[in-house]
């Protein structure tokens, strides 16, 4: 069974906050749910499927189902870190195609800024019973940033990728963020400013890293017969793929990500090629994340990502592949350190023609949204969806 054409994204909402000192985690989830349902023209009582990940308070979906007063007949709290919500779109379509629900709600929220969390630079133990990998990793000091940095270091070694090439990714994101009034960082930056920003973990500089923000978002995925009755532009899901990439028992290869497999599955299901894509939402925890995923999704040859992203090729109106036109995680928002949901949101805005006019892609009829969750250098969950305007 394919999910191609079996589900539509009918409602989206992105919380405008980037610092949520005065609202609770549950409140943000619910405000986003309300916003996305209103966007779709649906009500809470229409929801019969609920999807969330580890950012939701409580055990799996249960606390949020209670808080929001939902009565789902289908739930899914699969957690693959920041990519969870991209994966949830695919799972929601599967559930809809199987008749398990008709209106699926996906929510995300997080408050790392309000909580003063050291997100990227401090090694973290999950506590409780250690995972089998933890004793062989945690004592050495793996952080979010240094494990992504090792991927960048190896990429540079094998393919000659440069810091200046990586910097172009931030430059492109900043060009887009200037038009987003909610973006945390709205100043356009140059390649020089990126490579001269302080080194955090070689070879990644401060401006190679995404922002740390509070906030959240929600997506409503519906069955075709529901979408047909709604007034919003129709955004159809035509392909989805997922993959978990690991250290493979010690056969570690840092030069590629799980996007190689999740992307291939999604493109095959959709029956389209990377060259057909008009707009790409690409997970951007760091500049290197974007570069590797673009290669792995097939937008360019492996190892040629550095040349591909250079000279403004990702900037809307200038380059061949406009990406993250909301400013992405690099400049706008990375709510709860989980950036997959916002990737889907901007892809939907582009397909609806509702992106900011300065960054709206002309005749945007086909888009990809891709997420990487966990750690690119340790183990991560990849999820890809391909969306089409109908």
């Amino acid at each position: 069974m394919s999910i191609k054409g079996k589900a539509y994204i009918a409602g989206i909402y992105e919380h405008p906050t980037r610092l949520a000192k005065d609202i609770s985690l549950a409140q943000i989830h619910a405000q986003c749910a309300k916003g996305a349902l209103e966007d779709a023209g649906l009500t809470k009582d229409d929801v019969d499927g609920y999807f969330c990940a580890g950012d939701a308070p409580g055990l799996g979906p249960m606390s949020m189902v209670e808080y929001m007063g939902l009565k789902p007949r289908h739930v899914d709290s699969t957690d693959t870190g920041g990519s969870s919500y991209v994966l949830h779109v695919g799972h929601a379509a599967e559930a809809i195609a199987a008749g398990k629900c008709k209106v699926a709600l996906i929510t995300l929220a997080g408050r790392p800024r309000a909580e003063g969390m050291a997100t990227g630079t401090v090694p973290r133990s999950r506590g409780g019973t250690p995972t089998p990998d933890e004793p062989f990793e945690f004592p050495y000091g793996p952080t979010v940033v240094n494990m992504y940095a090792m991927c960048a270091m190896r990429h540079m070694h094998e393919f000659g990728t440069t810091s200046e090439q990586l910097a172009w990714i931030k430059v492109a994101a900043s060009h887009h963020a200037q038009y987003n009034p909610h973006a945390l960082l709205r100043d356009v930056v140059t390649v020089e400013e990126v490579v001269n920003s302080p080194m955090i973990s070689d070879p990644l500089h401060r401006l190679d890293c995404c922002v740390i923000t509070d906030g959240g978002g929600a997506i409503v995925v519906v069955a075709p017969e529901i979408a047909a009755k709604l007034k919003r532009p129709k955004v159809k899901l035509i392909g989805a793929g997922e993959f978990v990439k690991t250290q493979m028992g010690g056969k570690v290869d840092l030069t590629y990500s799980g996007a190689r497999f999740s992307g291939a599955a999604a493109f095959a299901e959709a029956g389209v090629k990377p060259a057909d894509i008009k707009y790409a939402s690409i997970y951007d925890s760091f500049t290197i994340t974007v570069l590797m995923q673009l290669e792995d999704l097939g937008f360019c040859e492996k190892g040629k990502g550095g040349a591909f992203v250079s000279d403004g090729n990702l900037i809307a109106g200038q380059g061949k592949l406009p990406f993250n036109t909301d400013g992405g995680g690099l400049c706008s928002n990375h709510p709860g350190n989980r950036g997959g949901l916002t990737k889907v949101l901007e892809a939907v805005r582009q397909l609806r023609g509702e992106a900011h006019p300065a960054v709206q892609v002309t005749n945007c009829n086909l888009a990809v949204a891709h997420g990487t969750g966990g750690s690119l250098g340790l183990r991560h969950g990849s999820a890809t969806v391909i969306l089409e305007r109908e």
């Binding site: 250690p130 089998p132 004793p135 062989f136 050495y140 793996p142 090792m150 070689d202 028992g249 010690g250």
Partner: protein, 131 residues
């Protein structure tokens, strides 16, 4: 020399499955788990081979020789340190640190050799230094 001060290393959590690995580390030996079914060594050690799922696995002592697959010097830490993946002569690549050297001169693929560093109340950690 970028590494001046000493880092305090947390003790690894020892489980029934990996007791022998950490006991050997206390004696200055690095063990690798090898499958007698498919003949391949893996890391981190497991009793069931992650390649062929055979339960016929055994400990072998690593030579302590390897090459630096990748690294990153974590500058934003109280004491900067070099996170690394080292390719062991026995095959597997392992998460580790590179120590006792000038971090600014590290290069991918350079030869490295095994050393051990004490942890806070636990067995020592296998690490590497330029050979």
């Amino acid at each position: 020399m970028a590494e001046a001060k000493e880092r305090k290393l947390p003790a690894p959590a020892v489980s029934q499955e990996t007791e022998a690995y950490w006991a050997a580390a206390a004696e200055g030996k690095l063990l690798v788990r090898k499958c007698t079914g498919c003949g391949q060594a893996h890391h981190y050690p497991r009793t069931i081979c992650p390649f062929c799922f055979s339960d016929k696995t055994e400990w072998i002592e690593a030579s302590g020789k390897g090459t630096l697959y990748s690294y990153s010097v974590m500058r934003r830490a109280p004491v900067p340190y070099a996170m690394a993946y080292v390719t062991l002569a026995e095959g597997p690549r392992m998460v580790t640190n590179i120590v006792d050297c000038d971090f600014d001169r590290l290069k991918c693929e350079q030869p490295v050799k095994l050393v051990f560093k004490p942890t806070d109340g636990g067995p020592p950690l296998p690490m590497f230094t330029p050979a």
